[in-house]
Symmetry: C2
Subunit: 123 residues, 2 copies
Amino acid sequence: MATLGELERTVMDLLWENPEAVTANALRDMLARRTHGEHASKELAVTTVLTVLSRLEKKGLVERARDTRPHRYQAVTSREEHTADLMHEVLGSAPNREAVLARFLGSVSDGEAATLRKLLGHS
Amino acid sequence: MATLGELERTVMDLLWENPEAVTANALRDMLARRTHGEHASKELAVTTVLTVLSRLEKKGLVERARDTRPHRYQAVTSREEHTADLMHEVLGSAPNREAVLARFLGSVSDGEAATLRKLLGHS
DNA sequence: TCAAGGTTCTACATTGCGTAGAACCTTTGC
DNA sequence: GCAAAGGTTCTACGCAATGTAGAACCTTGA
């Protein structure tokens, strides 16, 4: 339930980069540019985009405005929130969470460790 | 590459609970007990277990001793290490890691936050 | 050397994802 | 009011991963 396919991920990336809700057609265009660096190419069928969007909607990652005529789509949560949720999902399935967190911290960069300290506040 | 199937995950759980290397047959028995609460039932074919073990080996999660006759299998990394690796994998695919970490910390229990502070040391 | 037990090969069903045609519904320009 | 243009849903196919296991092949002990 957590894993997205390649296209699904790309679509999510585009939605995350675009705060406003977009249409399937707009997404199709963005995808064409994104995937094949500028020069128009390999446009996917709109139905393909729509299928993917429906699946993402079913997964709870995308929200669709059904009231406007060309439906408009947007990500339900921010990319950061989603990623953090995924991390919690991974962590949640572990018996000894603290041991996992310890190892996790072990391979975090110094700069990030500093940030974490700041975020956690002083004891 | 990160996602495991249901059976694969169960097998990994058993291997993680058992420090010593075990045979496919032993695993088959453990699976029977685990999956259907005690009373012997639904034993999987040994070949099924072997297939799963081979796949897990290919994924680098399981190590197999080929020198002993009934081959013996064991997890390559601890469950904690594996989980931490997964968390890093999830985090790695994000542009603004610090923002993700911030949100992640936001939903960590107080006790765990305290542990994290300790692990990070005081600024 | 041969039977018992272990391993590898091959295979099939199911499910998720990429992909899109065909059919169906809406809107809009006349 | 109606037909064409455009949008949405249904259905479907191919491919890869996973659960499952039979058939064939290899090893070893009696």
